[in-house]
Amino acid sequence: MKEYIQIQDLEKEYVIYERKGFRRVRKKIHALQGISLSLEKGSFLGYIGPNGAGKSTTVKILTGIMTPEHGTVLVNGLCPWKDRKRFVRQIGVVFGQKSQMWWDLPVQDTYQLLRAIYRVRQEDFRLRLAWVREMLELDSFFHQPVRQLSLGQRMRAELGAAVLHKPDILFLDEPTIGLDLLSKQRVLDFLQQIHKEGTTVFLTTHDLPEIEILCQSILILNQGRIAFHGSLESLKQLIPLERRLIATLSQAQQEIHDQQLIEIQRIGATYEPSRRQMVISFPQGKNPAEIIRFLLSRFEIQDFHIAEPGIEEIVKHIYLG
């Protein structure tokens, strides 16, 4: 069965000119060094990687803005850069840092213009617009010129603009960057809704918690190559980092004697006096019951919890190779 998005051996080089002393030296940057990947229709892919990894380049190629040196891309049977005008009809794109709306005009007018450009039928548009306005809470600023909006408002408007024509695929390049918590939440909720409708979503972001909430599969790009592609679960299993038990001492135990300090060190724990916390790391798979029993017997424990390795740690691990 043909996958919905098929990327094969994608390679992209840039030529830049660096100044070395008094001369300009020509330098080749290998932004993408052979990317292959396929995605099913309706999936939600989180695309992450350190700066310079090639994320934006990939998105630009997938949306038809850039042409690669080598490799093929087929999205629903179309090649983004060869069939540009036909292809972009079915996609929506949101750039976190670049606006696509008419700056001097009210949001409402940008939406009207887009309706004409994408040739959305009047009735379809009316329903879709109502839905978007409600989901993203655009009513309070819908008639204001885009240049007067706050970042959060503008991002919501951009999101709405990108889905007015019901695209099959939505590409997002760091949509939540710089947003306050409330706006971010609205954006994430909206993306979940859009995904539920069946839209395939391709999200590039630096915000890892976002990925955890939204994405089914994750792709980690590093130095132009795919470092990992799979589900969040398999990512956690791939790098078996340790879990941590964090125990807070009760007020009854006023201080730790030297004897206890030695014991703490013996079991490989650390103690944080200001927070009255002990932290013990242990590998995945090991039952923490033993550690808990030991601690309870030796110390006055008020509370404890177990921290899973954050996705940040895992990803950092991968970035560093």
Binding site: K60, T63, M66, K98, L105, L113
Partner: protein, 258 residues
């Protein structure tokens, strides 16, 4: 197309909201351009004939260039500020829309205050007509046709200059160098310039072809029919150059992505 009408309607509504500002801008724009002509007028009071042309004839030349430029600038904001589109990366936003890129440039904004240029251009033209002894409907017809040609040529030349930004990123200096001076120069009869300049205005940045040559033919300063049809030769020559450079520019952008 419906999109154009939409944009015009929307933009006009916007302008009406800032009514005072709008009228002021328009008047100011018009006066700015007219000041050029006022200067010429007083010069010509001392020198009634310049390069074989009378004040009325020059006024008509001026008018053709002025109206053509003003009309181009109404929809030409995207072309005029193309370098900004590239620098801010907003050009990518245009590339992901299912519409031709050049048409999208024309849709970026409707700059109504350019009507000031147009009114002023027509005013100068009317003055010119008043100074010409005999003119008829056919002359008016020629005048209208030449204005249309002027709009097209202004657009084509500026599109070429804009496309240069694909290679150099910033093209504003080039535009100033290549266009503003030549535009002013083409508002006066090319016969007053040395042959190098005349050559430039005829074959390189062919602004003289929409005013000077056809007008020269009409006023009997030359018998060559080529002069009458000069604007269309220029346009036919410019279109492939323009499209060629633009396409090359797009290809370069797709390959290097600024």
């Amino acid at each position: 197309m419906q999109i154009i009408l939409s944009l015009i309607g929307i933009s006009w509504k916007m302008q009406r909201e800032y009514r005072a500002n709008f009228w002021m801008e328009m008047v100011f724009n018009g006066l700015m351009m007219a000041s050029d002509f006022f200067l010429l007028y007083f010069v010509m009071r001392a020198f009634p004939i310049i390069g074989g042309w009378s004040i009325g004839e020059i006024a008509l030349l001026f008018s053709i260039m002025e109206v053509g430029y003003g009309a181009y600038r109404i929809f030409g904001e995207g072309v005029h500020r193309f370098e900004e589109l590239l620098l801010t990366g907003r050009f990518d936003g245009l590339m992901v829309r299912p519409m031709g890129l050049i048409p999208q440039l024309l849709l970026q904004k409707v700059d109504w205050k350019r009507m000031g240029n147009i009114f002023e251009g027509f005013a100068v033209g009317a003055f010119g007509l008043s100074q010409i002894p005999d003119w008829d409907i056919s002359f008016l017809g020629l005048y209208v046709v030449l204005i249309i040609a002027s709009i097209i040529i202004n657009f084509l030349i500026n599109l070429i200059l804009a496309a240069v930004a694909f290679w150099t990123i910033k093209n504003s200096d080039l535009t100033v160098l290549a266009f503003y001076a030549t535009r002013t120069a083409a508002s006066y009869p090319a016969s007053i310039y040395p042959s190098v300049i005349r050559y430039l205005l005829t074959f390189v940045i062919p602004l003289a072809t929409v005013g000077y040559y056809p007008m020269a033919f009409h006023f009997g300063k030359t018998d060559s029919l080529i002069a009458l049809f000069a604007p269309w030769f220029a346009i036919c020559g410019l279109i492939p150059v323009c499209l060629g450079i633009w396409k090359l520019g797009i290809r370069r952008y797709a390959s290097t992505g600024t």
